[in-house]
């Protein structure tokens, strides 16, 4: 019966994807992309992937739409249709589709328990987590300690993106016609959303912190928390106007957060090494290994949360500042 929903949502997904590609007006494409990520999150939820649904929701609807919109504000909105070249694209894409469908013939069908994927490594994680870590959320356990190195790599990807955007947008726009537009005053004259927004922002940030620190028990963790807190501050920036947001969380603090988060993660790894364990082996951190793991994971999640939040906010400010400049 659950599959009925899955079936239903997937068809919606395909329709949205086709619509996105078809529309002319870019703004509509962005709106449909946010619907697309809403649907993806719902699908993930049905397929029992709560953590991933939360991340897709926090990142997809919140941050991606905002970044797309601010980029759209800087560039034109119309899209010119391209003439010709249709068939080459169709041919290549067609071959690819056949290739994939050919691969699906003898893949295990959805959800059969004896598929090889469930045999080898997964059950080990499921048994070992309560024993080693002592908390229920297996996904966070695997994410932060069993495969902690991936997450370290992950933090540095966010770090690289943040550096990249600052680097690329660091250049003053060459155009001379730089009439200083009035500071984007946000929705100043929309009174009601402002009042409600101001009421909401603390709740969003509070909820972000809640997600951050209870990552072990329910769906949550560093990435999601960072994204949610970033969305909260972006909401504040939208309402109050970008200048106040900068005043509230100045740019240097943001960059400090990103670097702090990345360094925290790396240094925890190094500390474990110094205390004799392997690179990211938290069990050496405290006397009894289970406590050590929990302590290590807690610090790691805090580091990740800080890095992600700082990075997303500095990207947002880079775009928003650009908007008021050009």
């Amino acid at each position: 019966m659950i599959f009925v929903f899955a079936l239903f949502l997937l068809t919606l997904l395909v329709i949205t994807a086709l619509a996105i590609v078809h529309t002319e007006n870019l703004f509509v494409a962005v709106m449909l992309t946010s619907i697309f990520s809403l649907l993806m999150a719902a699908n993930f939820f049905i397929l029992d992937a709560a953590d991933v649904a939360l991340t897709e929701a926090a990142v997809g609807a919140g941050v991606t739409t905002v970044i797309f919109l601010s980029a759209l504000a800087l560039t034109g909105e119309r899209e010119k249709p391209r003439v010709g070249g249709r068939n080459i694209a169709l041919v290549t894409v067609g071959i690819l589709a056949l290739l994939i469908i050919y691969a699906t013939f003898d893949k295990p069908r959805l959800g059969d328990p004896n598929a090889p994927v469930h045999q080898h490594v997964a059950p080990w994680y499921l048994e070992k987590t309560p024993e080693y870590m002592g908390f229920p959320n297996v996904v966070t356990a695997v994410l932060s300690s069993f495969r902690g190195y991936d997450t370290l790599g992950e933090v540095f990807v966010v770090f690289a993106a943040c550096i990249g955007v600052l680097f690329i947008l660091g250049v003053r726009p060459p155009r001379e016609s730089l009439e200083p537009r009035d500071e984007s005053s946000g929705l100043r004259h929309h009174l009601i959303p402002q009042v409600v927004g101001r009421l909401l922002v603390p709740f969003i940030v509070l909820f972000g912190l809640y997600v951050q620190f209870h990552g072990e028990y329910g769906p949550g963790g560093g990435f999601q928390a960072g994204a949610i807190i970033a969305t909260g501050v972006i909401l504040y920036a939208l309402l109050e106007g970008e200048a106040e947001a900068l005043r509230a969380v100045p740019r240097s603090v943001l960059l400090g957060m990103v670097i702090g988060g990345a360094m925290l993660f790396g240094s925890v790894g190094v500390v474990c090494m110094l205390m004799g364990g392997a690179f990211l082996d938290y069990s050496v951190l405290a006397a009894d290994p289970v406590w050590g793991q929990q302590l290590g994971i807690l610090i790691i999640e805090a580091g990740v949360g800080m890095a992600v939040c700082g990075a997303l906010l500095s990207i947002f400010h880079a775009f928003a500042a650009r908007e008021s400049l050009s």
Partner: protein, 91 residues
């Protein structure tokens, strides 16, 4: 018993999606996204109960908040764009 409600929500989502695709003026599409967002929140919370795992409500909670941010971002975008249009027309 939940199934009925979830089916109703799904049907509404399809209707909202159709509105988003057809919607003549851009504001219709924004409205459709807004309705779509709230419906997903409802669907998620009903699903959480359906699967008997009520501790997933955080997801719906997060979604309720973030949906609002998306809509406001669109409006700020509109505001800056329409003011840019006025400026373009005026000078």
């Amino acid at each position: 018993m939940y199934i009925l409600v979830s089916i109703a929500i799904l049907v509404t989502m399809v209707l909202a999606l159709v509105r988003a695709l057809l919607g003549p003026s851009v504001y219709d599409r924004v409205l459709a996204v807004n309705v779509f967002g709230t419906k997903t929140v409802l669907l998620l919370s009903v699903m959480a109960f359906l699967n008997g795992r009520p501790d997933f409500l955080d997801l719906a909670l997060a979604y309720a908040l973030i949906n609002m941010v998306g809509i406001l971002a669109v409006l700020v975008f509109f505001q800056s764009r329409s003011s840019a249009k006025e400026r373009a027309e005026s000078d």
